[in-house]
């Protein structure tokens, strides 16, 4: 997506391991640290939210208070002090903006440095970008273009005011507020995110993308994304994420909901490159995200593609609820862990509709002292006559001190269901490396070549320009992992 050329050169120019670790020096407005009902009222007030929204948040908060923190994953998480986090941080003067000319030049420069020029003239062939900086959306490009065909692409805070009936209808209809600890927390305190609405029979003419950046210290990012595609519509949506290098852990607890109606299709791609912490495991982002799509209409299709290279801890399962007849769910994932990173990621495919189909291709790459777990649920329910699933789960180990784990859960309540599961574990061999070296390819390029070969089936699902960026990222995140 986003200006690959710039990204690559930015990556190459920068020194140090994590290339997006710089901090933007910008004045921000913060709510006091900690979490209580006043903070929630503050956030809601800042966003000029209607009464129903505030009540919805408060209800979520009260529910969250009663929930225990989950601990069933294969992760070791240092305790999180929820009262030591800023729940609202916004760059000052980032109020209502009518055009990009009004965006703070410091912010524009930041996104430029990240390889995402927000200047529409400079952008590559029509990718519309929503840039979220800490708690607020600072710019959304190409909105006029999109509105011509009826596509709504705006910050969710704006959607709550402008399109309350749409938001009320679909918000938390896929991920209920009480779904899990972090979704409840998100519902209470979410500050921004993107809203996409594609009307009937409209194929969205450009890729939509959101770029998340955490800048402030001790700030949590709780974004909320809602994408609704009406009958016969189509949209391809991309998200990218980075954060500065900091010694303490920062929490990113997002909720993403997708709704696909009859004959519609949503393609959702993620390249996640939050700061992973240092070699010893100090600092880094806790990426605890709930992503779920509902294939509500017949023949609807939702496809998740994720390339996860960053974060100290990644804990998420982009899932599909396949309600519609002959609906299709897909999950393509590459999760790379190096250093002291941990990942527990995978998907859930819940088959409810007759003839529903799902495909899961997961590629885990572990290096350094990292731990990488695939966890996935395939559930074929009674009504899902002739449902099918194919799962392929491959792990690649780089070095001797990392771990790869595969935890598939398979539930079949309908005898006509077909479920296939394939899994492999392999290692980059000395022999393979030597073969590449003998051809004059450097060790780092060799690892990148072999790893990208291993992930090929997933990479080809990414939009072209995004794929180039992702390949580069995988190479960078494995730097120094061999030898």
């Amino acid at each position: 997506m986003v200006a690959t050329v710039e990204t690559i050169s930015a990556v190459e120019e920068a020194t140090g391991k994590y290339k997006y670790g710089f901090v933007t020096d910008i004045e921000s407005e913060k709510a006091p640290k900690g979490l209580n009902e006043d903070i929630i009222r503050f956030i809601s007030g800042k966003k000029n939210e209607p009464e129903w929204m505030l009540n919805w948040r408060l209800k979520a908060y009260r529910h969250w208070l009663k929930m225990p923190e989950p601990n069933w994953s294969k992760l070791s998480i240092a305790p999180i002090d929820y009262n030591d986090i800023y729940y609202y941080s916004a760059p000052k003067a980032a109020e209502k903006l009518d055009s990009l000319d009004e965006v703070d030049p410091e912010l524009l420069a930041t996104y430029e440095k990240l390889g995402i020029p927000l200047n529409e003239q400079k952008m590559l062939s029509g990718v519309a970008v929503d840039a979220v900086f800490d708690s607020v959306s600072v710019a959304t490009t190409f909105r006029e273009e999109l509105s011509k065909v009826g596509v709504i692409f705006c910050p969710i805070s704006e959607a709550i005011q402008k399109y309350p009936e749409l938001v009320r209808k679909y918000l938390s209809s896929v991920v209920p507020v009480s779904d899990n600890y972090f979704s409840a927390l998100n519902s209470a305190v979410f500050t921004d995110g993107s809203f996409v609405y594609v009307p009937k029979n409209v194929k969205c003419p450009m890729e939509l993308s959101t770029y998340f950046r955490i800048n402030e210290q001790k700030t949590g990012q709780f974004e909320r994304t809602l994408i609704v595609v009406e009958d016969g519509g189509y949209v391809s949506y991309l998200e990218g994420c980075t954060a500065p290098q900091r010694d303490e852990n920062q929490l990113h607890a997002a909720v993403v909901e997708l709704v696909a109606l009859t004959d519609s299709e949503i393609k959702y791609s993620t390249v996640q490159n939050w700061y992973p912490g240092d070699e010893t495991g100090k600092g880094g982002i806790y990426n605890f995200v709930t992503k779920r799509g509902s294939c509500r209409g017949d023949r609807s299709k939702i496809s998740w593609t994720q390339v996860e290279t960053g974060s100290a801890i990644t804990w998420k399962y982009p899932s599909c609820v396949l309600k519609g007849k002959n609906s299709i769910g897909e999950f393509y994932s590459v999760a790379v862990t190096n250093g002291a990173q941990q990942a527990d990621t995978g998907t859930k495919m819940i088959h409810l509709g007759e003839g529903s189909k799902s495909t899961i291709i997961s590629k885990g790459i572990s290096a350094g002292k990292s731990q990488n777990t695939y966890r996935g649920l395939v559930e074929i329910n009674r009504g899902a006559e002739s449902a099918r699933n194919f799962t392929q789960c491959d792990s690649l180990l780089v070095g001797q001190t990392c771990g790869a784990h595969t935890v598939p859960y398979i539930v079949s309540r309908n005898p006509s269901g077909k479920i296939e599961h394939e899994a492999t574990t392999s290692r980059i061999s000395e022999e393979q490396l030597f073969y590449c070296l003998q051809r004059g390819i450097t060790e780092e390029d060799a690892v990148s070549l072999i790893v990208n070969g291993f992930c090929k089936e997933v990479m080809k699902e990414l939009p072209m320009e995004f794929a180039v960026e992702a390949q580069k990222l995988i190479g960078i995140s494995l730097e120094g992992s061999v030898g």
Partner: protein, 253 residues
């Protein structure tokens, strides 16, 4: 140092897992010459090829190797490769998922970069590869497969020769290129190698059997036994081995 020599090996000793396998090898190959090293199993033939190309685990404990007049013993394997040393593997390695074109282009461009030349883009490279592949009877379909995956024995060896043709090394080592080939495949591969004989390119052909050397006719033949070169001569030495076996040669040494 003779300015004509491309590869010079002096009193080379090397160990694998702490055991000395090469006990003082001396060898000089001049520009454009083709030398053959013959020897029984366990004589150190493959070890020599790995020591020369710098594989991890093959440790040089004494002596020197120079390529084009410069010592390379402190260089990494990829540096040696970019300096013009090429090894055609006895058992070419599979790289699942890695597209042949990306792999070939990565190595091709690494060489160009080293020489300060401009890298070629994908489209131009495809043309270059197809032209070379045609000479070796390598189909477009084979070029599209991942590196060495699902290749037959003959296809793997031809793919090695294709890489040699692309990388134009000044010193090529062919490690048991004949192993696992039937008569027809041997002929195709040898013809490919002969096409690459060039006044600017030296070759070291490592083999157990004489039969390869009747296709690729060497200027000199050396017999490696017990980690030493025990006898050197012209191509007739290979025929002697064929007739009397290695035992006879050992006695003579």
């Amino acid at each position: 140092m003779d300015s004509m020599s491309i590869l010079e090996i002096n009193e080379l000793t090397a160990t694998v897992d702490g055991n000395e396998i090469l006990h003082g090898i001396n060898l000089k190959i001049n520009k454009g010459e083709v030398h053959a090293i013959m020897g029984p199993n366990g004589s150190g033939k493959s070890t020599l090829s790995y020591v020369l190309s710098g594989r991890t685990g093959y440790e040089i404990t004494g002596g020197d190797i120079s390529l084009n007049g410069k010592s390379i013993i402190d260089d990494e394997a990829d540096d040696r490769a970019r300096a013009g040393l090429f090894l055609a593997f006895q058992y070419p390695v599979e790289l699942p998922g890695v597209s042949g074109m990306s792999f070939l282009r990565a190595s091709f461009n690494a060489r160009l970069r080293e020489n300060g030349e401009e890298e070629v883009d994908h489209l131009d490279f495809v043309k270059i590869v197809r032209a070379e592949a045609k000479k070796l009877g390598i189909s477009d379909e084979m070029l599209k497969r991942p590196v060495n995956v699902g290749f037959s024995g003959g296809e793997k060896k031809r793919y090695e020769i294709l890489q040699m043709a692309l990388l134009k090394p000044s010193m090529a080592i062919l490690d048991e290129t004949d192993s696992g080939l039937d008569v027809d495949a041997l002929k195709i591969v040898s013809e490919g190698v002969n096409l690459l004989r060039h006044p600017e390119r030296s070759m070291l052909v490592i083999t157990h059997y004489q039969r390869l050397l009747s296709h690729i006719v060497p200027d000199k033949v050396h017999i490696l036994s017990g980690g030493r070169i025990v006898k050197s001569g012209d191509k007739s030495l290979a025929l002697e081995v064929e007739e009397n076996g290695y035992a006879g040669i050992d006695d003579a040494a």
